[in-house]
């Protein structure tokens, strides 16, 4: 044994540590605590699923209703589009008549100039 070993021995003696009663008790409680935590976490999972259900059901119902309404409105919009199309055609016809009239006026006007 050299001097360094003596030093280390002295250190070991002065730094030995015995577990407190509270520490021993808390360590002995670990199996019970772990099992309880496992039970709580499985209950929590079920509660979480319920919470998610309560959160999602009204929102999904609302979205579904909006979707169905959109479909209904979309199908009704076909007739309206057809009416729009008809109106545009009529307008085009009128415009072409106006253009023709303008041409005539131009011709008349041109004749007048000459």
């Amino acid at each position: 044994m050299n001097k360094l070993n003596d030093y280390l021995d002295e250190y070991a003696k002065s730094h030995s540590l015995n577990a407190r009663r509270e520490l021993i008790d808390s360590i002995m409680e670990i199996p019970r605590n772990v099992e309880q935590q496992a039970k709580i976490s499985s209950t929590n999972l079920w509660l979480n699923i319920r919470d998610w259900g309560l959160f999602l059901v009204p929102r999904l119902s609302g979205l579904t209703a909006a979707f169905v309404l959109g479909l209904y409105m979309g199908s009704a919009g076909g007739a309206a589009l057809a009416e729009d199309e008809l109106a545009r055609d009529l307008l085009d016809q009128e415009q072409s008549e106006v253009v023709a009239l303008l041409d005539v006026e131009e011709f008349i006007f041109a004749e007048d100039i000459e």
Partner: protein
């Protein structure tokens, strides 16, 4: 349950607890046996608490490490594989060592400053008297200054009484690497313990 000669099942805890190996206790803990767990705690708590305390230099942290280590024992026991021939002591020292490293890593920089301040004041008082407690403080300071792996090697071989082979297994290094850590640790210790530097260096050669 152990089978008796007449085929009747005999309560395992009637067998003297000394004859039960740590590994067999782990198997029983894996089946949810709290008595086996208690025996294992009694066998290993104090020794490993001292080890954690010396590694961390802080009693509260060492206690937290021990709690976490035994939580791992309880949770890991059901997966304990006896065919791997791992010794419980080796596995448990490894768990404690790694937890201590984690605690060391998570320490705030301020805490390190506090330690350094305390070391400076210790250094002044150590100049005065050569008393055992003073020298212990010096050794503590010197050990804290060692690199982490050298510190662990010294702890396992000198204070926990593990063989070099066992310490190498705990640290997951080769025997040569472990011996190298020990030699360097002793040199560094002698270097840090300035007062007796020359004597110690002569002895180490």
């Amino acid at each position: 349950m152990y089978e008796g000669d007449n085929g009747n099942k005999k309560r395992w805890w009637r067998v003297p607890t000394d004859t039960l190996t740590d590994e067999s206790l782990m198997l029983r803990i894996g089946e949810g046996d709290q008595v086996a767990y208690g025996i294992l705690v009694n066998r290993h708590l104090n020794m490993n608490l001292g080890f954690a305390y010396k590694l961390l230099g802080n009693k509260a942290e060492a206690e937290e490490v021990m709690q976490e280590a035994f939580i791992r024992v309880w949770k890991h026991a059901s997966r304990w594989d006896p065919s791997r021939k791992t010794r419980f002591t080796t596995w448990f020292y490894r768990v404690v060592t790694n937890l201590c490293y984690d605690v060391g890593r998570k320490r705030k920089p301020q805490e390190n400053v506090e330690v350094l301040d305390r070391m400076a004041s210790d250094e002044i008082s150590a100049d005065n008297v050569i008393a055992v407690d003073q020298r212990s403080k010096q050794v503590k300071r010197a050990l804290e200054e060692l690199p982490k792996r050298q510190h662990t090697a010294i702890m396992l071989c000198y204070f926990q009484g593990l063989s070099n082979r066992e310490a190498a297994d705990v640290m997951e290094v080769s025997l040569n690497a472990l011996e190298s850590y020990l030699v360097r640790a002793r040199r560094n210790l002698a270097d840090i313990l300035q007062d007796d530097k020359d004597n110690l260096l002569k002895e180490i050669g």
